[in-house]
């Protein structure tokens, strides 16, 4: 069988497509993760920036709180100062954690903190001085104490830290943009390739289907051609058998008829030898006629259209016996049938022919001088019917029991038992055509049991 090449490559392509889609999914997942990670880093940087700002603000708030107390020394004005101090400590701790991944910023923070702590202590001192020694002393401390340079110094340090974070932010934003672009390109390329492969696979499959369709049409053509050839051969065979049945038999009829006429009309002018010769001619013609009959029957059984129908075995056996009536009477044969017989699936005329051949054999091959006794009964293995034809004849040696079913097989000289040698071949061919079987159990000198098996007719199960 020829497999369209398109189908093979389409299958391969679909496999590649599946792999590609899997890779695509993996890359997409990875890209998405990168984008998310970059986004997280960006927001981290924003957070750090906010915290740096807030930390510096808390220092400025502390300064404003302390100076406020110096101006108006009421204890409730100290609350913002204390809040700003603890706010600074909190922000510092948060920043230390946030900057854990960046040693440069950490060292900046480490340098920044003591400065602030010192400045906060100085502010504390301002508050204490105001409370203990009054405004003048506090004012003197402010004027002579921390210069604005030192505050500016802190601001510069904050600027540095912020600058670092801002450049980090710029870098990370760029990275995020890049990772988004990469992911988008990955998506686009992978999907474009997948769609392209899909289109190619589709085209290949469609082409393969067309190819198969053409192939199916071709096959159908071939089957039709073969059928036509077979029909022709069958017609030729039919014409042949028709011709055999007419043209081949006409001369035989002439031989036997004219021979008999010679014997009757010229009896007084023929001596014993002459009569024997003519009798020989007539007998030979009759045998030839029987052979042609057998051949026609054999060809009809092997050629006839078989249409299995439920058939009543009882009726079939009776019909077969009826066909042989003259023969049975002349042989003084006794046939006993154990009725009722079941129904089987068969073709009626073929079945009758088969049974007639078996009964005819059962009667024919008898012991000299013994009246033939034939018993017919049915057995019923599962789903099948076995019809047995038992005789009291001469029996068959075991080594011959298979051979007898072949065409033109004869065990006996034509002088002792006349026949075409086709009787059992017709039985076997007929049964095989009807999906049945035939066989024999026999012992030399003790008679034979021929049996045939056919499917039981479903709607007529054996009641007996």
């Amino acid at each position: 069988m020829l497999l369209p090449r398109g189908i093979v490559s389409a299958n391969l392509l679909l496999m590649v497509l599946i792999v590609l889609l899997a890779v695509n999914a993996l890359i997409s997942y990875h890209s998405a993760r990168t984008v998310i990670a970059n986004e997280n880093r960006v927001s981290h940087t924003y957070e750090v920036l906010g915290d740096i700002e807030a930390m510096f603000s808390s220092v400025k708030d502390a300064q404003r709180g302390a100076r406020g107390f110096v101006l108006i020394p009421q204890e409730q004005f100290l609350a913002p100062f204390d809040r700003a101090k603890s706010e600074y400590l909190r922000r510092f701790e948060v920043l230390r954690e946030l900057m854990a991944d960046n040693p440069r910023q950490q060292s900046r923070l480490a340098a920044f903190n003591p400065e602030v702590v010192e400045y906060l202590n100085y502010l504390d001192r301002e508050v204490v001085t105001r409370r203990m020694h009054g405004f003048q002393a506090a004012e003197a401390l402010i004027v002579n104490g921390y210069t604005t340079d030192r505050i500016d110094e802190l601001g510069k340090m904050i600027d540095e830290m912020e600058g670092e974070e801002r450049s980090l932010l710029a870098y990370r934003l760029a990275q995020t943009r890049r990772s988004i672009r990469t992911a988008a390109i990955n998506f686009a390329v992978a999907n474009a390739v997948a769609i392209a492969l899909l289109v190619v696979a589709f085209i290949l499959i469609v082409r393969g289907a067309r190819h198969r369709q053409r192939y199916a049409v071709e096959l159908e053509d071939r089957v039709q051609q073969r059928t036509a050839e077979l029909e022709e051969a069958n017609t030729a065979l039919k014409a042949f058998t028709y011709s055999v049945s007419h043209d081949l038999r006409a001369p035989l009829r002439g031989m036997s008829g004219l021979g008999k006429a010679l014997l009757e009309d010229y009896a007084d002018r023929l001596d014993d030898m002459g009569r024997r010769y003519v009798t020989g001619i007539v007998g030979a013609a009759r045998k030839m006629d029987a052979l042609v009959d057998g051949l026609l029957l054999f060809s009809r059984v092997t050629r006839t259209k078989i249409d299995l129908q439920p058939v009543d075995l009882t009726a079939a056996v009776h019909e077969a016996r009826g066909q042989l009536a003259a023969d049975l009477e002349s042989q003084n044969a006794h046939i006993s049938i154990r009725e009722p017989l079941p129904w089987v699936m068969a073709q009626r005329n073929v079945l009758v022919q088969v049974i007639a051949n078996l009964v005819s054999n059962a009667v024919k091959f008898r012991h000299q001088g013994v009246a033939p006794q034939v018993t017919i009964w049915a057995e019923k293995p599962v789903e099948k019917v076995r019809l047995v034809v038992k005789d009291n004849g001469i029996g068959i040696a075991p080594e011959h029991q298979e051979r007898i079913f072949g065409a033109f097989e004869r065990l006996h000289a034509t002088e002792s038992f006349e026949g075409s040698g086709l009787g059992l071949a017709i039985v076997r061919a007929g049964l095989e055509r009807m999906g049945g079987k035939v066989g024999v159990n026999s012992e030399l000198g003790r008679g034979s049991e021929f049996w045939l098996e056919l499917p039981m007719a479903k709607e007529h199960r054996y009641a007996g």
Binding site: Y242, S245, A250, R253, G257, L258, K260, A261, E264, D265
Partner: protein, 143 residues
């Protein structure tokens, strides 16, 4: 004698001989005129009434050279004057298709040749007693 003439259409000379023997030996009433093929049969029937006696029955074989028995039969049934003539098919074919076709084409009887002499004599006797003697003929046979 009008109506006692039998037209035997048969190509096998042995069959012709044996049938003629049976009629002669058993002193049957029928008077056989034999033709060898379908063309001769049609030629005879065309001449009948003018120069030859019209047969009381036609014994027709089916497998004949030139024109088959079926062709002779269907020709006959289309002849305005001759179409009522009784036709007995006498052939070696037991084929049911042949039997059906012969009746469809208007055969009056279908007999199968036997291979033994006694059978041939039986056929001759029966044809003679039934178709020649007992059977009433259409008026054309008396002409």
């Amino acid at each position: 004698m009008p109506g006692k003439m039998i037209l035997l259409v048969e190509d096998d000379p042995n069959d012709v001989l044996l049938l003629q023997r049976a009629f002669a030996r058993h002193q049957l009433a029928g008077n056989i005129h034999a033709v060898n093929n379908g063309e001769e049969a049609i030629a005879y029937l065309n001449d009948a009434r003018r120069s030859r006696p019209v047969p009381g029955v036609i014994l027709l074989d089916l497998s004949l050279p030139r024109l088959s028995g079926f062709e002779v039969l269907s020709w006959l049934r289309q002849q305005p004057l001759l179409k009522p003539l009784p036709v007995v098919v006498l052939t070696s074919s037991k084929d049911q298709g042949d039997v059906d076709r012969a009746y469809e084409l208007g055969a009056n009887s279908y007999l199968v040749k036997t291979s033994n002499l006694d059978g041939t004599v039986d056929v001759a006797r029966l044809v003679d007693s039934y178709w020649v003697l007992l059977n009433r003929k259409p008026s054309i046979c008396e002409a």
